[in-house]
């Protein structure tokens, strides 16, 4: 459990925006280290306590890597014979986006979220770093493979690997994703 807490903190450390000055980096490192210490201490005290799984997404992309520390998955069945829809997001999709913002969505024959384990779903990926940033998405006709791995029944979370994809960006630049890893917490799937 304590180990899990540290991992989360390490993940947070890496979410540094490109172009951070040395001074700012130093400050952030110090902040995080203090927090990490506090967590470790409390974790040691509550060995039996389970920290909730929030989910995570690590994207290998150029120019800058992205690591997101919250990820939910829903399997939506429309229920009239259409394919089902896998919807993976780091924010509540019924509300406004929070940033950085990511949505992965694809159609699947799988009838349950648990049943995705071992399946590969071709997804559209949508990404926006900040509220005024350009928007990126998979090309029309293109997609990114999401290969689901084991289901963690304790956390009700699915792990998965991302394939490669070149994205289009609304400002005309290009964007490559060369793989990634995810852990998605299953929410109200049908």
């Amino acid at each position: 459990m304590a180990y899990r807490g540290l991992t989360l903190m390490i993940v947070s450390v890496l979410i540094l925006p490109a172009g951070c000055s040395k001074e700012e980096m130093k400050q952030k490192m110090e902040q995080v280290q203090t927090q990490a210490q506090a967590y470790t201490e409390s974790a040691v005290q509550a060995v039996e306590e389970k920290l909730p799984e929030n989910g995570s997404l690590a994207l290998n992309m150029s120019p800058a890597a992205e690591k997101i520390s919250k990820l939910d998955l829903q399997l939506i069945s429309i229920g009239d014979g259409r394919p089902n829809v896998v919807q993976i997001a780091n924010y509540d999709v019924s509300g406004p986006r929070s940033f950085p913002s990511v949505l992965l969505q694809g159609n699947t024959a799988s009838t349950s979220a648990a049943g995705l384990s071992g399946q590969t779903v071709q997804c559209d990926l949508y990404y926006q770093a900040g509220p005024n940033s350009p928007v990126s998405m998979t090309k029309p006709g293109g997609s990114i493979d999401v290969s689901f791995g084991a289901l963690n029944t304790e956390d009700n979370a699915l792990s998965g690997r991302l394939g490669s994809s070149s994205l289009v960006v609304s400002d005309g630049t290009a964007f490559q994703i060369s793989g990634g890893e995810l852990v998605a917490v299953i929410r109200e799937g049908n």
Binding site: I76, I78, R82, V85, S94, Q105, D124, S136, S170, D171
Partner: protein, 602 residues
């Protein structure tokens, strides 16, 4: 592909245009064919023929004027007879042009300007000739003739005044015209001062009678136009009865007879009622513009107004959905629901967003309830697609903002006066340094203007708001009229990849359609090829009379105006004198709400 299609259409157009050379009544001046006549709407019988004959007179007299102008250093070599004849002919033709203006023909203004320019030149040649020895001799003869003819002239003018007081104004007009030709033929050589003295009595009587003749003609044409207006407006009134009939049939049978015995279900019926609303809207536009053209202002409001027609159409459309809710069996409910959503979205793009979907909400819910699984399916569908559409919308919007920086709004281009780059004006014409690219009224000869406009506009990038396909299979879309211009855009654009991608993301296939209005708008606009913005280069410009454009509006072109709105005219300038510009565009990219299509360059 598109470029060669444009070439094909251009060739076709040229072929048609040359066939009509003798009676160029259907085309308008373009940058490629600036000398085409302005089209006439022909509301008053005889106006089309008069337009054609006046353009012919202009053409032949212009040749004469150019000849003389190029020899103006040797006035002694002018043909006295030809100058004389030209003066008389042009004087009469100018009056005919003014008559055309009373008939609310924009060509009357173009011709008035052109003929007056020629007339001024001919007077100049006459006076130059008058100063030559031969001219002096001729003038002496005419002075004598005039003196001797005074008593006869006095009698004639007294008779003319009599005709005025008896209200026989057309008789007066005809007689004065014959006399006037003679007077103009004779006086073309005289100096302004001497001429004024000689023609003053004639002009005085002419002015008195002309004023009354003008009023009489104006009233007569207004009365004639009223009949045409009434006929057009009645089509709009018939709309309600027709919509009611269709709604009742759908309620009872689930089908209705639409056109020529063809029956349709609720989705076809909805589309049909939307179409006849469009037809009624076109009809109302034609009637309104005829009324404005013959009253000289836009104060006249017909019943129903475009807003009132919209207030009739919306409940009519809601009643179709209600009828569908009554008669549709459970197993068809989803397909009908989906189909109606697409038709609602399509009509709204031609009118006002949300103006129909919101009033239809209750009826749509009733329809959905016919299938006990459908309401839950709709809810799930919404959850499955709303966020995705939101992402695509913001991507497309940002991308379009980036692309649009290269394409200015044409309104800015059209109003600012800029240098005349290239012109085609004849030798006698003054060439101004700066003119507006696409002037709002006929104030200079249309053929000169359209040539100069073309020189400055062809190949220029422009951005246009809203592009609407005329019919599901038409090869042309229109950009609605903005008060000054509209545009034609050839279809289709290469959007297949975007459409397929959108369809997949919307979980739509041949048996499952969109279940939200946003999804319906997305897929229907993508498949139909309606766009929010289209950017491209101007390939061709046409100059039209604004009233002619709308009086002759075919039903299918109703998207030229937003449903619920009348076309825009400015009251500060004579209605009939206002121009309408048509741009034929070569599209380079277009913004659908959910994607941008880029047309690859050849």
């Amino acid at each position: 592909m598109i470029h060669s299609k444009m070439k094909t259409y251009a060739v076709l157009f040229l072929a048609i245009a040359t066939t009509f050379h003798g009676s160029p009544l259907h085309a308008n001046p373009t940058n490629e064919q600036p000398n085409q006549a302005l089209a006439a709407h022909g509301t008053i019988a005889g106006s089309k023929e008069l337009v054609a004959s006046l353009y012919e007179i202009y053409e032949s007299e212009e040749k004469f004027v150019i000849q003389c102008f190029d020899r103006k250093d040797r006035p002694d070599r002018f043909s006295e007879k030809q100058i004389s004849k030209a003066a008389g002919r042009l004087w009469k033709a100018k009056r005919d042009a003014e008559h055309l203006q009373l008939m609310a023909e924009p060509a009357g203004f173009d011709l008035g300007v052109k003929l007056n320019l020629l007339w001024v030149q001919v007077i100049g040649f006459g006076r130059s000739y008058g100063r030559t020895p031969k001219g002096q001799k001729t003038m002496q003869k005419i002075r004598t003739k005039f003196q001797r003819g005074q008593p006869a002239l006095k009698r004639f003018l007294t008779q003319a005044e009599g005709a005025i007081s008896q209200g026989k104004l057309e008789t007066f007009g005809k007689a004065m015209q014959v006399k006037g030709i003679e007077v103009n033929e004779d006086l073309v050589f005289f100096s302004p001062v001497e001429r004024q003295k000689m023609e003053a009595p004639f002009l005085r009587v002419l002015a008195t009678g002309d004023e009354r003749l003008r009023r009489e003609r104006k009233q007569k044409y207004f009365d004639m136009a009223k009949e045409v207006v009434a006929k057009q407006a009645s089509v709009a009134a018939e709309f309600s009865a027709e919509a009611k009939r269709i709604s009742e049939e759908i309620t009872t049978n689930g089908t209705a007879t639409l056109t020529e015995g063809i029956k349709g279900g609720p989705v076809e019926a909805f589309a049909h009622v939307a179409k006849i609303w469009g037809n009624a809207s076109a009809s109302l536009t034609r009637a309104s513009v005829i009324q404005w053209a013959f009253t000289g202002n836009t104060r006249g409001k017909l019943q129903p107004s475009p807003k009132q027609l919209e207030q009739l159409a919306i409940p009519a459309l809601v009643s179709i959905v209600d009828a569908a809710a009554t008669s549709t069996p459970a197993e068809k409910a989803q397909a009908v629901y989906s189909g109606i959503l697409k038709e609602i979205a399509t009509v709204e793009r031609r009118g006002t967003r949300d103006s129909i979907s919101m009033p239809c909400e209750a009826a749509l819910a009733k329809l959905a309830a016919k299938d006990r699984n459908l309401p839950a399916q709709i809810e799930s569908y919404h959850r499955a697609t709303a966020a995705m559409l939101d992402w695509r919308e913001s991507f497309a919007r940002k991308q379009s903002q980036k692309l649009a920086t290269q394409f200015p709004n044409p309104a800015a281009l059209m109003t600012k006066p800029i240098e005349v780059e290239k012109h085609d004006r004849p030798s006698f014409a003054r060439v101004p340094t700066k003119t507006s690219i696409a002037p709002p009224i006929f104030s200079e000869p249309a053929n000169w203007t359209v040539f100069e406009t073309g020189a400055r506009l062809i190949g220029k990038p422009v951005s246009e708001k809203r592009m609407l396909r005329l019919t599901p299979t038409s090869k042309t879309a229109v950009v609605p009229h903005d008060g000054r211009h509209y545009a034609n855009v050839p279809l289709p654009l290469p959007s297949e990849t975007h459409v397929a991608d959108l369809k997949s993301a919307l979980v739509i296939d041949d048996t499952h359609g969109p279940l939200t209005i946003a999804a319906a708008d997305a897929i229907s606009s993508a498949e139909l090829q309606d766009y929010l913005t289209v950017c491209g280069v101007v390939q061709k410009v046409h100059m039209e009379g604004a009233v002619t454009r709308f009086i002759g509006l075919p039903d299918v072109a109703y998207p030229l105006m937003t449903l619920g709105y009348a076309p825009t005219f400015v009251d500060q300038q004579p209605i009939v004198q206002q121009t309408c510009w048509r741009f034929d565009m070569m599209p380079m990219w277009a913004h659908n709400r959910y994607f941008n299509v880029i047309v690859p360059r050849k």
